[in-house]
């Protein structure tokens, strides 16, 4: 064990000890990347359950870019205003959205689902293949507060790609 003067350690022992500590620390760190259950408080209490569940608004009505781009994108403020110039204009949250819109300021949503920068993922091709949004995002139509329900890590992607005979070359996602 480490006792006394460290300089008595030979390099092998030194690195072995350092490695063990690194691995233990690193394990807990990387494991936390999954973020399953992450449900931060958003600037307004927007409910997917109300919009997508009760009112049955299709996901692509708001997240319309998902069909034509890699990014699903948060809808432009103007999309909210399509309905909310007349619907529920008495609610404080709606008034807040309207104020932001009229001031030309974007709503500062907190991001929930995120792949690292070195991952290329395209919504377009997954939707084109007919995958339901829920496959990766969970039962959003039941969520009052949006939260991450799958870990969205490489294992999650690969197992689905294997099942569906999709390419598993590294460059499918890493470019």
């Amino acid at each position: 064990m480490v006792s006394g003067d460290l300089s008595t350690l030979n390099p092998k022992q030194f690195f072995a000890i350092a490695l063990i500590l690194l691995v233990l620390g690193g394990w807990s760190f990387f494991d936390s990347f999954s973020n399953v259950g992450y449900a931060p408080q958003q600037p307004i209490p927007f409910s997917h359950k109300l919009h997508a569940g009760t009112n049955k608004i299709p996901c692509l009505y708001c997240h319309s870019n998902a069909e034509r781009s890699r990014h699903a994108t948060i809808p432009a403020m103007a999309v909210c205003m399509n309905c909310h110039t007349v619907v529920r204009t008495d609610r404080p949250a709606i008034q807040m959205v309207t104020a932001y819109y009229q001031a030309g300021k974007p709503m500062p949503w907190i991001r929930v689902h995120r792949e690292p920068d070195y991952v290329y993922f395209s919504h377009q091709w997954h939707i084109a293949r007919g995958f339901a949004c829920q496959t990766c995002h969970g039962q959003v139509q039941n969520m009052d507060v949006i939260q991450q329900s799958k870990d969205l890590k490489m294992g999650f992607c690969i197992s689905c790609h294997r099942q569906n005979k999709a390419p598993t070359d590294c460059n499918t996602c890493h470019t």
Binding site: G25, F33, R68, D117, N171, H174
Partner: protein
């Protein structure tokens, strides 16, 4: 091995068999690794343990909270994640090539040549592509500034305040009859020219002076003398079977390099059964010279005599051409017999006679192209007159020299700018407006332009920074970057293109033309006073009147305008096909020719040539780090200029350059001198020293300041002309040494493991090729392999690179850098051999060190089937894809660098630092969001532009068809002005690349290693005698 292939070498040390070179080749990196095997200290231990603890602690917390900001209203044309392209025109230089601007989420991230543009036809030079970075230059002005001329201090100003001051100064000048001068570079925009005319008309003494630091004025002047009209002809290299350049560099920097390169290489296809021939007569080794089949070294003072001796051979000694009997011609050429000129110029007897015979044999299909700044100032016009005489005598008029649709890419006049200097000296100029030029930097220092500016009461510069000239102005009224502006261009008469903003102005800048409009209106008089609207409206009205009415457009003007914006370029009916009638040559012009050759420069004297570098051109983009780090195509040195000296002269002077360390010398031309390191340059005339202009900026910005020395300081202004060549100079050794960052001394493509290297370059001659198409090549070896072959069931990507088409211009290197977020590392890191370029152009010499032949080889990841890198990676971070790509997975890489060590082509690059983590936020905007930004400790290399492959595949998938030729172009292929690079699916036997790789010229580099690359190179073919020149 084929016996006809000469031995190729990269540096003089290698040619001389220096043992250090072998040692270098065996080493991966130049510097000894710092990661030595010292016993770890207590501090290191605590650091590592600390990291582990930090990881563990971080594990309990959420990652940083990230916000997503939505659009307020989504712009109709924008889809986040999809590129939007705008047709526009490159504004980096007056060549005005057509470009497509790729924007992502509203910001331009790449410039690509426009295939439909009649001049550039899809290519775009290195400078044009790098001009994108200038848009995001953090050293740009954020708005107008007032300059205190006494101290040089700047203070933010407002447009309103600036306009008021300018209006009062202009009004004062008009009322007092003082002179208002607008000094610009070549303005290729017809609408801007018309606006300038309208603006200046109001002033009794108003004048517009055009001035180009890299000038073609001598050509226009000689055309005026010979034919009565001042113009630059349209040179048709595609019609020339024999091209003789006399100090001209059409492939590198002269007039319209992209157009010329495309035209030239269109005639260099040996498979067609014939090839044009390029003869270069020049003092320095220019890019064109390195591509010449035959090259003669002649010092600048002798270029005129050599040109006249050629004419003498055709018209006097062996009179055969038209004008032969003409008395004036005979008189003018009398003093230039070939034998005497050959003796003076050091050419072999009979050289010029043989060349004249060759020219006569190719009459009507040849072209004499003399460089406008290659000869001394007092010869500049005469040599152009002589070239005109030769082109007339050879019947090239109307075939390779067209005056019907002249080039408008160089309108500067040296006489005009020198007369402006005199007027400033006389205190005549009251208001000076400077746009697009930097005379305090580019005019010969002896003229003292900077001091003369003090005699002008009011000066406004339109520069985008407080440059050397703007430092002495009263105000700087920054113009937009050209990607933020409206404009039009007419690079050749009848070819008009539009430039449109691809991004809203980043800062509080204003279009130069809008400023002129504002000032014109505030004057309350003249034709601009009654105008309303912006420069955009003015431009539209000009097009309505000038272009729309001449077009056969059926619809409204709005429809026509939309169409013109979409297409980017518009051609008048019948333009480009009209050939000029061979105008009557005025023999009176021959009076420009000196009656005697003048005293010959003594043998030992040195003649200085200030040349225009391919990378920095005249220095206008001195603050562009992409261009600063782009190695000069010939010397392969970046981040510096230097004194090039021939090997024999270096020996005589006792100076040397070795292992990126060079002796420093003082260059003294009498009126100015400075110190620079030497570069020993094979192929240079022994009596010539050469220095690139464009360096030595002092007010370019943080990147460009104090890089090298300002060559213009040594230029001459004599007899109404500016002289950049043939300046008598003295060189003395200072005793100091300085580092020169040369990239051709490291990252050797490694030969086999034997000590004797196998050839990497193969070459042949046209005659041999026509007898045997595989001449010069080596039969493929079928080595037994330990590996089983991969199966490629779908696509398999491959590339063909034609060494005969590659001219070394390096456009592909910048294209790759922009496309793939390749970082700039700086001189000190390049000196350690750690530059990051994924694609490099290796330059090889062969033959005599004094007069070598040159060949360029683009070297990039070969995507080997048996990739040596893949077998040694301990973590499988580099693997083979099912489509034959060698993949590098950054997030898996742990940085052992085994792969780089095992790569025989030395194309892998390691991130020693977080190079892309730049502090300047504006520079992050240029990054391509489809390509991962690599971090410290990660290996990277060419991916064959995997993101472009994906885009092409997705495009085909959306259409439900397989990928076709042209769906996928790598960035290097797309940018190549000469189409030397072809990429495609080699599993499809009908694809273009499959046809090319089957040709007998194809070979793989280091095939004997059995790496089975998918990059096929094609043998270089020279159009000269077998024995060599």
């Amino acid at each position: 091995m084929n016996e006809s292939t000469p031995k190729h070498w990269r540096s003089l040390a290698e040619l001389n068999g220096d043992p250090e070179v072998q040692a270098l080749r065996d080493r991966e990196f130049l510097t000894p690794s710092e990661e030595t095997t010292e016993i770890p200290s207590r501090r290191d231990f605590l650091k590592l343990v600390g990291a582990g603890a930090a990881f563990a602690a971080a594990g309990c917390a959420r990652r940083p909270v990230e916000k997503i900001l939505p659009y307020i209203k989504m712009p109709e044309e924008a889809t986040p994640g999809k590129a939007v392209w705008y047709a526009s025109t490159c504004g980096e230089c007056p060549a005005a090539c057509g470009v497509l601007v790729k924007t992502r989420e509203g910001r331009p991230i790449k410039l690509e040549g426009m295939k439909e543009h009649p001049l550039s036809r899809g290519g775009l030079c290195a400078r044009g592509q790098a001009s994108l970075l200038n848009l995001y230059d953090p050293d740009r002005l954020r708005g107008p500034v007032a300059v205190d001329r006494a101290t040089g201090a700047t203070k933010a100003a407002t447009w309103g305040g600036l306009d008021a001051r300018a209006a009062s100064a202009l009004r004062g000048a008009r009322d007092g009859g003082g002179k208002v001068v607008l000094l610009t570079g070549t303005v290729t925009s017809p609408s801007t020219r018309s606006l300038i005319d309208e603006f200046l008309k109001t002033y009794p003494g108003g004048s517009h002076v055009s001035y180009d630091a890299v000038s073609s004025d001598a050509i226009a002047k000689a055309q005026e003398l010979c034919y009565g009209e001042r113009l630059i002809p349209h040179y048709r290299l595609d019609n020339a079977d024999l091209l003789v350049t006399i100090g001209a560099d059409p492939l590198g920097t002269f007039l319209s390099p992209v157009e010329f390169a495309r035209d030239f290489v269109s005639r260099r296809k040996p498979e067609s059964g014939s090839m044009s021939k390029l003869v270069a007569i020049e003092p320095i080794l220019s890019l064109t010279g390195t591509n010449a089949d035959v090259r003669y070294r002649v010092r600048p003072e002798h270029l005129l005599a050599v040109t006249l001796a050629l004419a003498n051979e055709l018209l006097v000694r062996n009179p055969r051409a038209p004008l032969s009997g003409n008395a004036a011609v005979g008189t003018a050429l009398r003093a230039y017999p070939a034998d005497a000129v050959e003796r003076d110029a050091g050419l072999k007897p009979g050289t010029l006679g043989a060349l004249a015979d060759d020219l006569w044999a190719n009459r009507g299909r040849s072209l004499i192209l003399a460089g406008p700044q290659a000869a001394p100032a007092n010869h500049a016009v005469a040599i152009q007159v002589a070239a005109n005489l030769l082109n007339v005598a050879l019947g090239n008029e109307g075939v390779t020299v067209e005056r019907g649709a002249p080039s408008l890419q160089a309108q500067g006049s040296e006489e005009a700018v020198l007369s402006l200097v005199e007027r400033m000296r006389g205190g005549e100029v009251q208001v000076l407006l400077v746009h697009g030029v930097n005379p305090a930097y580019t005019l010969p220092a002896a003229l003292g332009f900077g001091d003369l500016m003090k005699r002008v009461p009011f000066i406004v510069s339109f520069a985008d920074r407080v440059d050397e000239t703007a430092r002495q102005a009263d105000f700087v009224a920054p113009d937009h970057h050209y990607l933020e502006s409206w404009n039009d261009h007419e690079p050749r008469r009848g070819v008009r293109s539009l430039a449109q903003p691809a991004i809203a102005p980043l800062y509080d800048t204003r279009a130069f033309q809008d400023t002129l409009l504002a000032w014109g209106r505030s004057l309350g008089a003249g034709s601009l006073a009654g105008t309303v609207g912006t420069w955009h409206d003015y431009l539209r009205e000009r097009w309505r009147g000038d272009v729309y009415t001449k077009s056969d457009a059926a619809g409204s003007f709005d429809l026509f305008w939309e169409g013109a914006l979409r297409e980017g370029v518009w051609r008048g009916k019948g333009q480009g096909t009209a050939s000029s009638a061979p105008g009557a040559f005025r023999v009176g012009a021959l009076s420009e020719i000196p009656t005697t050759p003048g005293p010959a420069p003594s043998g030992g004297s040195l003649s200085l040539v200030l040349y225009t570098p391919v990378t920095l051109y005249d220095g206008r983009s001195g603050n562009n780090a992409w261009l600063q780090e782009l190695p000069d195509p010939v010397s392969k040195i970046c981040w510096d200029n230097y004194v090039s000296i021939a090997p024999s002269r270096a020996k005589a002077l006792g100076v040397s350059e070795y292992e990126m360390k060079a002796d420093v010398v003082t260059v003294d031309v009498g009126h100015a001198k400075f110190d620079l390191p030497v570069h020993v340059q094979p192929g240079l005339h022994p009596d010539v020293v050469a220095i690139a202009v464009g360096f030595g900026r002092t007010a370019a910005g943080r990147v460009g300041n104090k890089v090298g020395q300002n060559g213009y300081a040594l230029a001459q202004a004599t007899g109404g002309r500016i002289g950049l060549s043939g300046i008598p100079a003295r060189i003395t050794k200072t005793g100091g040494r300085a580092p020169l960052a040369c990239v051709q001394g490291h990252q050797y493509t490694r030969g086999s493991f034997d000590t004797e290297d196998r050839p990497i370059i193969y070459e042949t001659t046209l005659a041999s090729f026509l007898k045997d198409p595989s001449s010069g090549n080596e039969a493929p070896t079928n080595e037994p392999s330990m590996w089983t072959r991969h199966k490629y069931l779908g696509y398999r990507w491959g590339m063909a690179i034609d060494l005969n088409a590659c001219i070394g211009c390096s456009a592909c290197m910048i294209a790759c850098q922009a496309e793939n977020n390749v970082p700039v590392v700086g001189k000190s890191i390049v000196l350690r051999g750690r530059e990051m370029a994924w694609l490099r152009i290796d330059r090889y010499y062969s033959g005599d060190a004094e007069a070598p032949e040159t060949v360029y080889q683009p070297m990039l990841c070969q995507h080997c089937e048996n990739a040596p890198c893949e077998t040694v990676c301990p973590v499988l971070a580099t693997v083979h894809s099912s489509e034959g790509l060698n993949l590098q997975i950054y997030n898996r890489c742990v940085g052992t660098r085994y792969c780089s060590n095992n790569c025989p082509y030395k194309v892998r690059r390691f991130n020693w630092f977080d190079y892309s983590n730049v502090r300047e936020k504006s520079l992050r905007l240029v990054l391509n969001p489809d390509v991962t930004v690599r971090s410290k400790g990660v290996m990277e290399k060419c991916t064959f532009c995997i993101q472009r492959i994906r885009d092409g595949k997705e495009h085909a998938k959306a259409l439900g068809v397989p990928v076709q030729d042209g769906d996928i172009e790598t960035a290097c292929m797309q940018s190549c002005p000469t189409q030397a690079i072809t990429f495609g699916d080699i599993n499809n036997p009908k694809s273009r690349v499959s046809e090319l790789i089957k040709r007998p010229r194809g070979y793989h580099v280091l095939a004997e290693l059995n790496t089975l690359p998918v990059v096929t190179y094609e043998v270089k073919v020279r159009n000269r005698e077998e024995t060599g020149a």
